[in-house]
Subunit: 320 residues, 2 copies
DNA sequence: CTAATATTTGCCATAATTTGATAATGTGTT
DNA sequence: AACACATTATCAAATTATGGCAAATATTAG
């Protein structure tokens, strides 16, 4: 991991690079995050972050598909803007809802939400305190629609607004774009505030929800609860169906539409990630076999093979 | 209200008759109940109850359809046996699940459950402490299937077992059946214990659950929450649909299959029952108009007409 | 109380979803 | 590497949800 803090005459830029999804999840200042890697290949993650007063701006790159659980600090609003949704639409989901190419994501602080992101994913993030945002809105005479913001995770933004915002953020956060670093902080902040207000005044909530969403979401939630409670045991699909009072086929449809994975894939990835977490902080004396068994892996040969396939290294290498 | 306690040389028999569903709900010793009357006509209710040590046996008659919310004391098991389900099957529901003619109802203590009962309904009730039941089962070498008992509200019982139990209970609880009153208590209790064990050894859970049940139940639950939170305001059907993220027709189907009432019927009955409750315990100075308005009734003429139609008396008569 | 208006319900055709059987594929085990 | 077993894909049939419309019912105004 390389971590460099470039200090100019103003706020620092924090730059982190990391090769593990779990560690990467902790590198965003003041966020509580939990990442599970759900595609095969060595992970590479990078964050460029600029903290201001009451305002956080960052760019995040993640090389592998992830299932993220995120929580921002209270009394704030987060916006997530992915510059390359066009190509990868329908692969990113927030709370199980697919994004259209012109959608940005929006969630208030202190409420957990889930993100499913594909491999080779880039996203800009903006977090601002609610009070600050309200102040700015008042000052500029912009009316904010809190109902939209609080109840819709996806906001559709017109093309030109979106590209303007993307340009602004790119200028601010590209590591090589030194030109922006000469700008005084207060001017940069003003620019961002204007951008935010522009977004909120042009936004219209994306309410395209399939009728099946509610039902499928509730099935997946129940299934995940159940799997979580029994993570040390081998759960069969039929058992899970009974626990969720549903049929195999519906369980599968639900998982695929909400998480983009089949139930068993989800189960396997969750467990492999669990093992990896435990391996990273294993006490001396704990064996790989112990830890693997805690997560329901009984056949170490097969396990090691799968583990290496996903994380690019063998369990014993993780254990150091 | 007539209440007579007939004392013999052993346990008393408690006999209550009442003309109001809400009061009736409180007359079962040690139960927490909340009844809403959901059919039109003057209410008449009757309970015959025999309390024993660790065991309660009763018969209940209710003249009007009811939506009941029930809670038995902790560490107990309740059985509900309706002798006339044959004719009225599909009209009685427990937690929104319809009963077949050979089903009895079963719920553990300390867990709230809901009953929908038709007009002119009779039911026998048996409550026994868990420990007592386990003791008896051990003593008789009967194995109890706790999973069935805890997770299934409906147990199917063979015809002959059912009639035997019905006969036993009728003998015990028919007001005129004086012959049983000569039997010493401990013998009666033994008979009941044997009956219970017979039931639990012959029982097979009724797991006929329509696939739509889960979904519809959750819609109805959400809808009721919403209605409960806004009981003082007039809620329109479309508003409720939005709140529940569902369509008009689906909301209606859900209510009809879970509660046996349309959403608006449910709403009206709930409110009329609410007013009646408040009227019964109104402070001096409160007017009918005040109380009615609290429950969303703005047109007193219409309200009085509906109220009389359901409860058989005008609001002012209830107010005393 | 009655008439005018609005809401709700029942019914229907259509669309969407769920289901279960079977075939194909993948996984764990020896 | 090969077997047995479990999972996933495919498809047609069954179930369920939806929305329009007309009839029934309820609300409001006079």
């Amino acid at each position: 991991m390389i971590e460099s803090v470039v200090t100019h005459n103003h706020q620092p830029i924090i730059y982190t690079v990391i090769h593990d999804a779990h560690e990467h999840a902790h590198n965003l200042t003041d966020w509580q995050q939990h990442y599970d890697q759900i595609s095969a290949g060595e992970f590479y993650g990078q964050i460029i972050e600029r903290p201001f007063e009451d305002l956080q701006v960052f760019k995040e790159h993640t090389s592998q598909a992830l299932s993220q659980s995120c929580l921002v600090w209270p009394d704030s609003i987060w916006l997530g803007i992915s510059p390359q949704l066009q190509g990868k639409q329908n692969q990113s989901k927030i709370n199980g809802l697919s994004l259209n190419s012109n959608d940005i994501m929006c969630r208030p602080g202190n409420i957990e939400f889930e993100l499913t992101t594909p491999d080779a994913f880039d996203i800009y993030g903006l977090v601002i305190s609610r009070d600050k945002l309200l102040n700015q809105a008042n000052k500029q005479g912009v009316e904010l629609n809190w109902q939209d913001i609080l109840h819709n995770e996806r906001l559709s933004i017109p093309d030109n607004t979106l590209s303007a915002i993307n340009f602004l953020l790119a200028r601010l956060l590209n590591h090589n774009a030194t030109d922006s670093h000469g700008t005084p902080d207060h001017l940069t902040q003003d620019l961002i505030h204007m951008g935010l207000l522009e977004i909120f005044s042009k936004e219209s909530p994306n309410q395209t929800v399939h009728t099946s969403y509610q039902h499928r979401k509730s099935i997946v939630d129940r299934a995940r609860d159940y799997l979580h409670q029994h993570h040390e045991r081998a759960i069969t699909l039929s058992e899970l169906c009974e626990a969720c009072h549903t049929s195999r086929r519906t369980l599968q449809n639900s998982f695929e539409s909400i998480l983009g994975l089949s139930p068993i894939q989800y189960l396997r990835y969750t467990r492999l990630n669990g093992v990896r977490r435990d391996l990273k902080q294993a006490k001396t004396g704990e064996t790989i076999g112990d830890i693997a068994a805690r997560w329901g892996f009984w056949h170490l040969g097969q396990f090691a093979k799968d583990y290496k396939n996903v994380f690019g290294e063998l369990p014993k290498e993780t254990l150091k």
